[in-house]
Symmetry: C2
Subunit: 227 residues, 2 copies
């Protein structure tokens, strides 16, 4: 196969976002409790999960809404305690999967170009790449906010392919979500690879575009696809 480039999703592809998010939220609520928010940890965590689902992960006032759900007025000390604990924990978990960097290095050694296609706020996604120590690895980084569309819109994938001066069929897209990464990559004519790390939730494809060309469990397996 004549693959010339590999594009990556960031979250749950280059690092374990799920573990980062759940530990960060848990530590945030613990710190809020320690600061005087008198609730049950488990209960508050499930209320918080609902709030995050409702307002999205990039909303600025999750903790205000959490207090509100318990009938409480905003308490800045409690909210700040949550924010500090969330960020401290998040930073500690912004570490690549153990085979991320070795695999990216091997791909570069094999003259494969690298890119990122990610949904989210541009500065937040770049912050992740920088904290992961990956900001210099990629020749093309496309974040949905910059283009005003989200995955699975094919424009995101096409833009990355264009930035690398390649054809879609020469490019592999690696991501975890069928509806976003696989559907989008297939629609745009790329070769699609679903990555399902241990513990990832699996579901079946719902339409023809959700069938990945390959399924892998570790980033390192990309090297076998390229042989």
């Amino acid at each position: 196969m004549k693959i010339k480039a590999v594009l990556f999703d960031i979250d749950n592809t280059l690092f374990n976002t799920q573990v980062m998010a759940s530990n960060s939220r848990r530590n945030a609520v613990k710190a809020m409790i320690e600061a005087g928010f008198d609730v049950d940890l488990g209960g508050a965590l499930s209320v918080l999960s609902k709030i995050v689902r409702k307002y999205g992960p990039n909303y600025d006032n999750h903790y205000d809404r959490l207090l509100e759900e318990y009938g409480l007025a905003p308490n800045h000390r409690v909210i700040a305690a949550g924010i500090v604990a969330y960020h401290t924990t998040k930073i500690a978990y912004l570490v690549p999967y153990s085979d991320t960097i070795p695999t990216l290095l091997q791909l570069r050694e094999n003259k494969i170009k690298l890119g990122v296609v990610s949904d989210g706020l541009a500065v937040k996604q770049w912050e992740k790449l920088i904290r992961l120590g990956l900001q210099h690895f990629f020749q093309a980084v496309v974040v949905s906010e910059d283009l005003g569309v989200s995955k699975p819109d094919g424009v995101l994938f096409s833009r990355a392919v264009e930035m690398l001066s390649l054809k879609p069929t020469q490019v592999l897209m690696v991501g975890d979500r069928l509806r976003k990464d696989i559907y989008g990559a297939n629609k745009a004519g790329l070769v699609s690879v679903q990555i399902l790390h241990e513990g990832s939730s699996k579901r079946k494809p719902k339409n023809q575009f959700e069938y990945p060309d390959y399924v892998i469990e570790k980033i390192g397996e990309i090297l076998e696809i390229l042989v």
Copy 2:
């Protein structure tokens, strides 16, 4: 030239150790003053510099000696304040020079093997590589503590060359110190490159082995040597 590998010193070669150390010490003494150590910042910093020179950078009780120099008994709160500020600052400055990672990536892309030859305590030097995000880049890492000898002992350089299955003449050694890196590399038959970043102190070679084969100001210039 048929260079097959590049070896690097860590300190002041891959990152700015000088700036890290001076800011860390300054913030440590400031924190000690804030915790009750009633001295002049500038004066205490120069006393501390002498202590570091006398006992070496890996000594565990610099701040005890500092209090002692002022005729004070150990004050654990003050010492702990210094240690915390030192480490917080150190971590913030453990960042590669801006061209370190791009250059290492290009070298890998050109199938050049990479290694490290460093003086110091093995765990401390590995901690630096990990915090710099460089731990996966090198096929050979030699730290003086592991071999029981220090630079410029040729054994260190020869071991790295051996680990890469190469001949000394196929290997470039990049470091900042004439007496340690250049002398040692030349003695062991490697090609020597002195790196003098902006603001580095310069001196003249004192003997024939201290003459580097090349002098560069940025890591990126290695790529020009290899052409």
